[in-house]
Amino acid sequence: MTDEHPSAQLPLDLARGPGMSRDELVVTGANAAAIALIDRWPDWQLPVVVLAGPAGSGKSHLAAIWTEAAHASAADPHRISPDAISMAASGGAVLVDGVEGGIDETGLFHLINSAREGGGHVLLTSRRFPAAWGVRLPDLASRLKAATIVEIAEPDDLLLTAVVTKLFADRQVQVEPHVVSYIVNRIERSLSTAMNVVERLDQAALSRKTRITRGLAAEIIGAVDAGQGDLNL
């Protein structure tokens, strides 16, 4: 997408990574159940948990918190490694982040079985419920049916406001509350859009050496709306 703002100065990429600690997690009605479940570990009723929610709803943040708490190792959903399976078999924790299409069905089946038999735990995250993963292996499908499934809902206004505020705070940028409400009221109800808008606003402000105002927010939201085809929604 062309970006025809008046300054052609490119900014240095100084942004720091998102805050992924438990303290930086925003709890609202949309994600309360999922957070409660992560906080409850290792007292899970079932060894396998699936976190399902839209892009940017905080799955990775929750997974990061759990990974730290459970000293979990990560497994690639397309190719579950024997190491991950033996980890689960010996009572360890394994994270399978971003399960979409092209799942290593046999690997996942073995991983789940190993966790059940060895007292391990498996956390899977996905944008969809397991029923929509298109699993062909009947044994795996039945194992997944027996898993705990927690849904993270679309963000509500409160969550979106908190998240936009947090995203600016992650970047150490001071933004007036009225600008945050302006953004929340005008962007799509999705956290990925919120992230995209905050990042572009920060870059534009850095490039032009200005503060983040309502006018700049209007301009960037307009540009994001115009280029929605580029976004991963």
Binding site: A8, L10, P11, L12, I212
Partner: protein, 372 residues
């Protein structure tokens, strides 16, 4: 209080401390300088609540005491007194006014009680070290120009001072960036600085400090904690709060794989940039550098007034490329270099460019291009 001292001594100290006082203040006492006569010296102190400067100067004390008077007013009066004059400062018995007497001139200034003067409680310092003023000056001078002035980017409104180990050697390093360019300077870490926290020294403190370290022969004592820093330079003590923020991970924006090397005469380059940028209508317009074998062509296009171009000989043998920079930034950086040549390490028109001083391996600069 009744004190007599030489005008030149008073002026020198006031010249230092009065700069801390903001021209506009909502709290009246902050417009004043604290004068305290004890022993054989007059101590002057000014603060803006973030920064405090104290300086003592020899004086003949007839009666000890302390008061506060408007700083800029007192400075202006002393400045206009004749050179070599003696000045007497005398508070009235009721403490509400102070008279400045020199020769046949007399000024009566309103006072505020010294007990109202705020104290910047420094707390305890975790690290203390001594550094030559010339070395400290180098760390400041090489980086100060890149400090951000955008107030909402508070974490960029200062110089990041920290220690870093590389190749088994510990260095004290200063870094500043405004998001468009970055400057970094190193020096051997002074004894006592090991393990110090990374701190961000605010812009105003840096600029006051820069004026105080002009004398190359003085050792500066630096004391610091997570929240405060204190510099003692001769009879001047500068105490400042630090910026409460996290300086970005600057290392990742310093390119390491830029393999297109351009070496160019620094002075001719700066002069040519200055010349061609005359045509641009506003500051901050881009200068396009077309770099080819042995030559750089600088171009500025201004749709409203015309265009300018100039060719300069350069040492370059990589693939030809075009890249744009803010003319002001090019001039700022080249003004920092001491060597006769400037060395540019480039990647492409959209990536950070590294600029090195051929005579100073302890400083480097990163410049982001402009789209042209």
């Amino acid at each position: 209080m009744r004190v007599t001292l030489e005008r030149s001594n008073l002026l020198k100290s006031l010249n230092h401390v009065h700069r801390v006082v903001e021209r506009r203040n909502t709290i009246p006492i902050l417009s004043n300088v604290l004068l305290k006569a004890t022993g054989a010296s007059l101590e002057m102190k000014a603060t803006d609540l973030d920064l405090e400067m104290t300086e003592a100067t020899p004086a003949q004390i007839e009666r000890t005491g302390a008061t506060t008077v408007p700083a800029h007013l007192l400075y202006d009066i002393v400045r206009k007194l004749p050179d070599g004059a003696e000045v007497m400062l005398k508070t009235a018995d009721d403490g509400n006014s102070m008279t400045v007497i020199s020769g046949r001139a007399s000024f009566r200034l309103q006072c505020l009680p010294q007990s109202d003067f705020p104290e910047l409680s420094a707390g305890s310092f975790s690290h203390i070290f001594r550094i030559d003023s010339s070395v400290l000056k180098h760390l400041i001078d090489k980086t100060q120009f890149a400090i951000s002035t955008e107030e909402t980017r508070y974490y960029l409104n200062g110089i990041y001072l920290h220690t870093i180990e590389s190749g088994g050697q510990l260095s004290l390093r200063s870094v500043a960036t405004d998001g468009h360019r970055l400057a970094r300077a190193d020096t051997e870490a002074p004894a006592g600085s090991e393990g110090m926290p990374g701190i961000i020294v605010p812009r105003k403190t840096v600029s006051e400090l820069q004026k105080l370290v002009d004398n190359p022969d003085v050792a500066v004592t630096v004391e610091l904690s997570d929240t405060k820093i204190r510099f003692t330079i001769g009879s001047v003590v500068l105490t400042s709060k630090l910026i409460d923020g996290t300086f970005p991970d600057y290392q990742r924006v310093i390119p390491s794989g830029n393999d297109k090397k351009l070496t160019i005469d620094r002075q001719s380059f700066a002069q040519a940039v200055d010349r061609v940028s005359t045509i641009s209508s506003e500051r901050g317009r881009a200068v396009k550098m077309a770099i080819a074998d042995g030559q750089v062509t600088l171009t500025v296009n201004n749709p409203d007034s015309g265009s300018a171009t100039e060719e300069i000989a350069a040492d370059y043998d990589a693939d030809p490329m075009e890249i744009g920079f803010n003319a002001r930034y090019l001039l700022d950086v080249t003004a920092q270099l001491n060597g006769s040549d400037a060395r540019f390490l480039l990647a492409d028109a959209g990536s950070p460019t590294l600029i090195q001083d051929t005579s100073d391996e302890h400083a480097l600069y990163v410049l982001m291009p402009m789209r042209v």
